[in-house]
């Protein structure tokens, strides 16, 4: 695990949203954090390279662009894991993919999010993954969202 110091922590905690849209946004944020613009840029670069941050920039809601964002899962037998993983991750529509396990031996062990520019794209991606992997894909579209907030304070 990468070492995160107090300044990195302040950057991560303070920059999960609200990045300004102005001429020199990094300078504005750096001033707020009490560091130089160049230091902020260097630290962001280092945090991205160390994979402490997976991205820095706008997070899009594809539904608001007329597209769709759908959770889906597969039950992948252990012996086929690597082959299926390569098939699934090879689809550009797969935005995230997580391996999951439960205490109850739930067979749904591969969970991914499909992001497509049109609502029809989801069904096409599901079919494409099923054909390429030979395994069923179970879509779990959200019927209702009760709460979404993904801002986690650093605890490392």
């Amino acid at each position: 695990m990468a070492t995160i110091d107090a300044v990195d922590r302040a950057i991560i905690d303070g920059l999960q949203g609200g990045f300004p849209i102005c001429e020199r946004p990094y300078a504005e944020v750096a001033a707020r954090l009490g560091i130089d613009e160049s230091e902020l840029l260097a630290r962001l670069q280092a945090l991205l390279e160390a994979r402490v941050l997976t991205r820095f920039g706008p997070m899009f809601q594809v539904e608001r662009m007329g597209g769709a964002f759908v959770l889906a899962a597969m039950c992948v037998p252990e012996g086929e894991w690597q082959r299926v993983l390569e098939v699934v991750n090879g689809f550009r529509e797969v935005a995230h993919n997580y391996r999951r396990e439960s205490d109850r031996n739930c067979a749904f062990n591969m969970w991914f999010v499909l992001a497509t520019e049109s609502a029809d794209g989801i069904a096409a991606a599901v079919r494409g993954i099923e054909e390429a992997s030979g395994l069923p894909v179970f879509p779990f579209p959200k019927l209702k969202e009760y709460f979404v907030e993904m801002k986690l304070a650093v605890r490392a």
Binding site: R55, Q61, E117, F140, F147, L152
Partner: protein, 162 residues
């Protein structure tokens, strides 16, 4: 939810920023040069997309493992359909639940309809939080499970085709 879909220039801005913002002093000016439009146009369009929700937010996306949340549990619950909206609102309001959704069941293999994501520094902490959700649901919980993530296999976010 009725915001008009983005136009062609918005789409070019999405393509130019979906991998991240340039790490330079004037990132919006760099995007403007790249797209051959004015910096003012970039700034106005990004502000508009932020307003309309096309952009949820602009900032850092942490790898939650790297910042200490090594346990990430997707708790899933089978609750009565007629009660789910009330229960979902109550579970979603808990401060340790980061996402909460009603999703379809996939019977017979998957009986769960309420999904609540719980993060913690250990599986024990996540399990204690899941137990608190079970208590809140009481007799409305007919079955539940918690699926811990054991590996991030991919995390690129949205990628539109060029």
């Amino acid at each position: 939810m009725n915001a008009p879909p983005i136009d062609a220039l918005d789409r070019r801005l999405v393509l130019a920023t979906q991998g991240g913002l340039p790490l330079v002093s004037r990132p919006y000016h760099q995007l403007a040069d790249q797209l051959e439009i004015s910096p003012q146009e970039v700034i106005e369009r990004l502000a508009r997309m932020l307003d309309s929700g096309v952009i949820r937010r602009i900032g850092a996306v942490p790898n939650h493992y790297a910042i200490g949340y090594t346990a990430n549990g997707m708790s899933v619950w089978d609750v009565p359909d007629e009660r789910i909206d009330e229960l979902g609102a109550r579970v979603g309001a808990l401060d340790f639940v980061t996402h909460c959704y009603h999703r379809p069941r996939q019977l017979p293999a998957w009986p769960y309809s309420l999904f609540a994501m719980v993060h913690g520094i250990s599986r024990g902490e996540v399990r204690a939080k899941v137990a608190a959700i079970a208590e809140l649901l009481g007799a409305d919980c007919r079955a539940h499970d918690v699926l811990f993530s054991t590996a991030i296999l991919k995390k690129t976010g949205l990628r539109l085709g060029a």
